[in-house]
């Protein structure tokens, strides 16, 4: 308990120091454009949060991120399972995956900007950037499956359904979670990057860019804080869901035990 308090104190202290350094820097520079002070940024944040389109800006960015997240997770899991099961398919899509992993985000965004209306660009770009990450994870999961356990299942007469439920799915889950977590944090950044470049009517990234162009640095910082918060909340929600799923599984496992010991 005491160690924990000490840890928190250090973390708190250094956070405070960061803010103090910012404030001192701002006072020395004395330029609203270069580095606004803490107060004005706070005010700008409050002004943002209480402005009516704030919910729209944040909502649309969040919905773009979540939409691409789910599209990626579902499609990459499906295709990853195919690739894991079929070495031919895996080899076949390899060049595409390699290229996708090497393409700079910006190329994709610039091209997508030519191809689609600006609202679609973040979705499309996030898909192209996130898909290979998730796909490779699921494919890896198959490579890492324990063949010894599979032999065990076969020798001990597991039915196909038992095998899938108790051997295949549990083997995939850790890779699925890692992939989904990486995808989620990637998706935020790509969606915001695409918004910055395409400036859709609503969206955090577009507002950030407009603020920068208008030299409203305090709003750039405020929107940045909003973006950091969104990322952090996303991670928290994800970890929360994973923990919940873990608990649920334990509950189910308990249920399968003979009587309530």
């Amino acid at each position: 308990m005491k160690v924990r308090t000490k840890r928190n104190l250090v973390v708190f202290g250094s956070s405070l120091l960061l803010i103090v350094i910012w404030q001192l820097g701002a006072m020395v520079l004395d330029s609203q454009i270069l580095l606004p002070q803490v107060g004005p940024v706070g005010k700008a944040l409050v002004a943002l949060a209480s402005s009516s389109p704030f919910a729209l800006h944040v909502g649309l960015t969040v919905s773009r991120a979540l939409e691409s997240f789910f599209i990626i997770v579902i499609s990459a899991t499906f295709l990853g399972i195919l690739a894991g099961g079929s070495p031919f398919f895996s080899l076949f899509v390899k060049p595409l995956i390699v290229v996708l992993k090497a393409v700079p985000v910006m190329s994709i965004i610039l091209l997508a900007f030519i191809w689609f209306s600006s609202g679609t660009v973040p979705l499309f770009s996030a898909f192209l950037m996130g898909f290979p990450v998730m796909f490779v994870q699921i494919e890896q999961a198959f490579l890492h499956m324990d063949k010894n356990l599979e032999q065990m299942c076969d020798l001990y007469d597991f039915s196909t359904s038992l095998k899938i439920r108790h051997y295949v799915i549990p083997s995939l889950v850790p890779f699925f979670i890692t992939g989904a977590r990486t995808t989620l944090s990637m998706v935020w950044k790509v969606v915001i990057a695409a918004e910055v470049l395409t400036v859709p009517r609503y969206g955090v990234g577009g507002q950030m860019h407009l603020a920068q162009v208008q030299l409203d640095t305090e709003f750039v910082l405020s929107w940045t804080l909003v973006a950091i918060l969104l990322t952090a909340l996303g991670d928290l929600a994800f970890d929360g869901l994973v923990a919940l799923a873990g608990k649920l599984k334990k509950q189910l496992d308990k249920r399968r035990l003979p009587c309530d010991l």
């Binding site: 600006s118 609202g119 208008q214």
Partner: protein, 305 residues
């Protein structure tokens, strides 16, 4: 003391000039001749940028000395404390509403329609909103401004292909669309509409700005650059074909696209002193519907060189 510095050095002064990959770039091309050498003491270095966005930050951090900018951007920068002065108006309005399929014939027919506008916050957007306000119309109700395609070049392609019907467009894209799609017609001239509501003859669409620092440190060089710019505007207007070649050469736009449009681009050179009234009136109009578009307030005379 600045004068003293200038005389001491034998090196010619380098003037970093920014133009955008659009009409504001056209009128500056003659500055690039002779490797930018304007006279023995001044050399111009022209850089082309995709949009004002890249220019604003550079003016703020001191990498640029001169720039062609949309007029409202100059006011915005001034109000945010970036020390720049308007030296001249170099482009008057040249926006039109184009209809690609004959479904509308004049501006009264626009009611209830959807009109594509490139890029939120751009001059076409501001003027469209300004006119809507003056006419007592509401975006989204009486007609819809659609920003989903941000690049004017891309809107042009779609107008030519007939994929969209109506758009507010600047030159040289207007000329291009009219040339390539025989069914396309101009259904409203934004300049006329602006004249009707403001009483001014036209509006200043782009200005040539200089940083305070450069103007103070190198007054002679500043003067040389402005004169050279003035001469360049005259030359471009007089020799559209040759100008087209030069425009392509420094990477602003393809000659085939630029040259035919030059006569319609309203390229002018009006020194700040003469243009001040017109510019201030334009700011007043913008201020009335969106103070934020010019940075919150109408600039004082200190904005003009």
């Amino acid at each position: 003391q600045p004068m003293y510095e200038e005389r001491l050095s034998n090196e010619p002064v380098k003037a970093n000039i920014a133009v955008m990959a659009g009409p504001t770039g056209f009128s500056s091309v003659a500055l690039s001749f002779n490797d930018g050498k304007i006279n023995d003491s001044v050399v111009a270095e022209i850089s082309v940028y995709p949009s004002p966005n890249e220019v604003i930050a550079r003016l703020a951090n001191g990498e640029l000395d001169f720039a062609c900018l949309p007029t409202n951007v100059a006011a915005n920068m001034y109000n945010k404390g970036v020390k720049v002065k308007i030296a001249a108006v170099v482009g008057n309005g040249m926006l039109s509403v184009i209809c690609s399929d004959g479904s509308v014939t004049d501006y009264t027919g626009l009611l209830g329609k959807t009109i594509n506008v490139p890029d939120v916050g751009s001059t076409p957007d501001q003027l469209s909103k300004l006119l809507l306000m003056k006419a007592g119309l509401e975006n989204g109700k009486d007609l819809v401004l659609d920003y989903s395609v941000a690049s004017p070049a891309q809107i042009s392609q779609m107008l030519i292909a007939g994929k969209i019907s109506l758009a507010v467009m600047p030159q040289p894209f207007v000329s291009m669309v009219l040339a390539k799609n025989p069914k396309a017609k101009i259904v409203a001239d934004i300049q006329d509409l602006y004249a009707q509501v403001s009483g001014m003859e036209n509006y200043p669409m782009s200005v040539f700005v200089v940083t305070d620092k450069f103007a103070q440190n190198h007054p002679v060089a500043t003067q040389s650059v402005l004169e050279a710019y003035k001469a360049s505007v005259a030359w471009v207007n007089a020799n559209p074909a040759e100008a087209g070649q030069a425009i392509e050469k420094i990477g602003i736009m393809k000659a085939a696209l630029a040259a035919p449009a030059i006569p319609y681009c309203n390229l002018v050179y009006v020194p700040a002193k003469e243009a001040k009234a017109q510019v201030q009136a334009f700011f007043a109009s913008l201020y009335a519907f969106s103070p934020a578009s010019i940075g919150g307030s109408i600039p004082s005379d200190a904005l003009y060189l």
